[in-house]
């Protein structure tokens, strides 16, 4: 159950998990140890309560983030750091924007067909557009990765770790 519990904790926002996961696991561990003498029904209700509590808690924490309690996107992720991490929030936002663009194009296409019947659509069909977008995204991702790899090779990311020389006059 502890493994399952730890796994469920991954549903929480990373900021919240970093702050509370250790404590939550410790409290859960103690509460579970208390149950050893109880009957099957008691243990089952404890597990259901904990699972439901975690699921509801994770949803609430995500809603709090959307509500603006936290800084939604960390702009410091791409600053000079020893390791590179791609923020997951960016993937989410990019998906939303992508969906919005598709929706807008579909809408525009419908309007064009409606008001200029017979003249034909100036937009490519959706499957072609999706295929092209996928290819373009892959190419852009490869280019981005290449640039970051090249930056890594130059050692630029190590600049953040430079310590002042102890014997220098200033």
């Amino acid at each position: 159950m502890l493994t399952f519990y730890r796994w469920l904790l991954y549903l929480y926002p990373s900021l919240c998990r970093r702050e509370y996961a250790d404590e939550m696991v410790s409290v859960f561990h103690d509460a579970q140890a208390d149950l050893s003498a109880r009957r099957f029904g008691g243990r089952l209700s404890f597990r259901i309560r904990e699972t439901w509590g975690l699921l509801a808690g994770a949803v609430q924490e995500h809603i709090r983030i959307i509500g603006g309690r936290y800084q939604l996107i960390s702009f410091t992720r791409f600053n000079m750091r020893p390791e590179f991490r791609f923020p997951r929030s960016t993937v989410f936002l990019m998906s939303i924007i992508f969906g919005g663009v598709i929706l807008a194009m579909e809408k525009a296409n419908t309007i064009q067909v409606k008001y200029a019947a017979g003249s034909g659509s100036i937009w490519p069909s959706l499957p072609w557009f999706l295929g092209f977008t996928l290819l373009f995204t892959c190419a852009a991702a490869m280019a981005g990765w290449g640039i970051l790899f090249a930056l890594g090779r130059t050692g630029a990311h190590r600049l953040a770790n430079i310590q002042p020389c102890p014997n220098s006059p200033d």
């Binding site: 509370y20 404590e23 103690d30 309560r49 904990e50 699921l55």
Partner: protein, 104 residues
């Protein structure tokens, strides 16, 4: 805004003395006579909100391990808890009066 029962019980638990997570969980169960059993998700959701609103604070002790940090009520939290108790006292008094009047 009225507090939910779990939050009220958590605050009452901390009003007595600083406690860590598991101690709060057991105290809430004891206070409610076993009726309210908080899950860890509910407990830490409530603690997180109370920390954000500065109703409670963490006690940073060097010797306490990271997974067993105690919490205590702030002066703001205590003041708000007293207001809530006052509101409930007024409500129960009013309810008792209305019910008594109806019975008479």
């Amino acid at each position: 805004m009225p507090l939910t029962e779990p939050v009220l019980l958590v605050l009452l638990s901390l009003a007595e003395q600083p406690r860590h997570g598991y101690s709060i969980l057991k105290d809430v169960e004891r206070m409610s006579g076993g009726r309210v059993k908080l899950s860890t998700g509910t407990l830490y959701g409530a603690l997180h909100r109370l920390l954000d609103d500065a109703w409670i604070e963490r006690i940073e002790e060097d010797e306490s391990p990271r997974d067993r940090r105690p919490y205590r009520l702030t002066s703001r939290g205590r003041r708000n808890l007293q207001l809530e108790i006052e509101r409930m006292r007024h409500l129960t008094k009013l309810a008792a009066l209305r019910v008594a009047r109806k019975e008479a």
